[in-house]
Symmetry: C2
Subunit: 357 residues, 2 copies
């Protein structure tokens, strides 16, 4: 590892590859295809670790991200985000280069893209089965039928099936709550698919989020899973129960810049612009990053009761309740933290330093 | 303005220049020197707008940011962040190029930098006068004396005075609360300065944050103000009372990607990776961005009851309680929002599109 001089985002290759292979095995076991969501890592290198394990199709959350990975040789890409019509030139260009799948939940959107004859793409209808973010509500069968008909009438678009995201599992506090969301979605999505299979026998059901992909054991009717976060996991997933601390494959290294024994705190160079300002909370105490031990080549166990209790733009405040540990710390030392939301931290750290260990 | 295709950070030059000149006039009126904090904008262009109004010294929050501005010709720079010893090579290099001022609150830090004879810098002792983030507590006079003595003993460092940040004003809910924090800090810092003036007659008191710099009218004993956020302001400052909506000089433009009349919402391309995930809250309702009208060349009044109520990684959910407005919106339209915390949004948007209007 190079010498670190500032806040650094560390990606542990062996933990990451273990997360990938475990999810791949699970999908193979259930006969479901894995289309990992690459928005979590946004890294060509991590993408190659997926490719080395046989993954050949991906999901991304923007057309610029699709271009980034297409330029690295990925040729089957779902943009799992509602089509942004202002990027039509980029979308057309991408559709000439890769097997492109796009989302629609609105007749205006479909009418617009239908006019671009050069745009050859598969279209998935996005379904809202309870999350309430984007997609047509699963109950609106006639609206969905009309949209499918519009797509099929175009000779350059293919209606490929339904895509849904169980984002409401992120509000779950434990496995039971995740599985309750999952069961409800599974029933509704399968009912929808059954109705359409008669007219469209080749359609698929694309589904997925890290909590259900990690915790559920019933994927009946699902053709494709699109989890993203599982590649790294994080404190939020650990709290939900999707992973153990040891599965978390990214950590932040931050230099100590101040030591305050009176208040049992140290200040580190590492703030909201590096971690993002998300937190997990229990008993009214906010945790912006969990401190872990360093074993010389990677991190190990968590350090109990030592965590980031506050972040400003560049400063992090660390609670150090262990007086022995506190007495040894001095400016220039490095401390290591598991991030709360690895997708957001990875994105924020695009402006700074990322290292593979 | 170029055609926008994705989430874009708009910087209104005339509002920004008005914010700069107003703060400059206030400082001149009070006989206080203005050293604006450039961490808010991190933009060479905005830096030049300051320079055009006669500003010749700045504060930044990291040594890499100092280098960024030094390379654009800034020659008097305070790194208003505890020294990160791991960057000693960069610090030494900078000190040869610019008039550099650094912070210390720890004898280990001073002992370390004392060993680098090439490092010619002014050292400000950071004082914690109630915020509790970094700095020596204002009451620990003997610790402060010992640190000043260590600095003065070095023949390449100069003890320049005290620097303090009233970050606790960000928790204030109104002008009265801001002024209460300010008065308390002013008394404590002046008392400290008086004690040291006898031995160190040239020391200065550097102080500042946007709420007090905007709202207070008594800066007795203060030599230098270092507000940053005032250049753009934001919803957080508007809530505190530091500015009006019309003073906010940055906005995000986001394409509509989904329209959901049943739930009186639209989805926009613009999420946590663009805005950052900070929010202002009132009566339990979170606001991640306030919608404003567009007048063809810049934004105007706020649109009452229309705001971002949720952000995921790339999606924003907008509440549109006006049925007439909602009925007109369609995918591909642009909506405009005032950000909650402009420093964080400007930082996040470094990965995306920034436009000057």
């Amino acid at each position: 590892m190079l010498p670190l001089t500032g806040p650094s985002f560390l990606i542990d290759q062996s933990r990451t590859e273990r997360n990938i292979s475990r999810m791949l095995q699970k999908c193979e076991h259930h006969g479901v295809s894995l289309r990992p969501h690459f928005k979590t890592h946004q890294s060509l290198e991590v993408g190659r670790w997926f490719r080395n394990q046989g993954i050949d199709k991906i999901a991304v959350s923007s057309f610029s991200m699709a271009k980034f990975f297409a330029d690295d040789g990925w040729i089957d890409i779902t943009v799992a985000f509602p089509v942004n019509l202002l990027e039509i030139d980029l979308i057309v260009a991408l559709s000439k280069k890769v097997r492109l799948h796009i989302l629609a939940d609105n007749p205006d959107t479909v009418a617009f893209i239908t006019r671009y004859a050069e745009l050859k793409a598969g279209v998935m209808i996005e379904i809202d089965a309870g999350y309430g973010r984007s997609g047509i509500h699963v109950s609106k069968v006639s609206v969905i039928q009309e949209l499918a008909r519009m797509i099929e009438q175009s000779d350059h678009l293919r209606f490929e099936g339904f895509l849904s995201h169980a984002g409401n599992t992120y509000q779950a506090r434990n496995k039971m709550e995740v599985l309750a969301v999952h069961s409800s979605m599974l029933v509704q999505l399968n009912e929808l698919k059954s109705r359409f299979l008669i007219s469209y026998p080749d359609i698929i059901l694309s589904y997925g989020d890290t909590p259900t992909a990690s915790l559920a054991d019933d994927f009946g009717g699902i053709d494709e899973l699109r989890p993203g976060n599982f590649v790294f996991y994080d404190l939020m997933q650990q709290r939900i129960g999707s992973c153990s601390y040891d599965d978390i494959s990214v950590a932040m290294a931050c230099p100590v810049v101040g030591v305050y024994p009176d208040r049992e705190q140290v200040a580190v160079y590492g703030g909201g612009v590096h971690f993002s300002k998300e937190f997990v909370e229990s008993e009214g105490i906010r945790n912006y990053g969990q401190m872990v031990k360093w074993n010389g080549s990677t991190w190990g166990d968590i350090v109990a009761n030592c965590f980031l209790s506050g972040l400003s733009q560049e400063h992090g405040i660390v609670e150090i309740s262990d007086p022995m540990l506190l007495s040894k710390l001095k400016p220039g030392d490095l401390l290591y933290f598991l991030p709360v939301h690895s997708c957001m931290t990875a994105e924020a750290m695009r402006n700074y330093c990322t290292m593979f260990i």
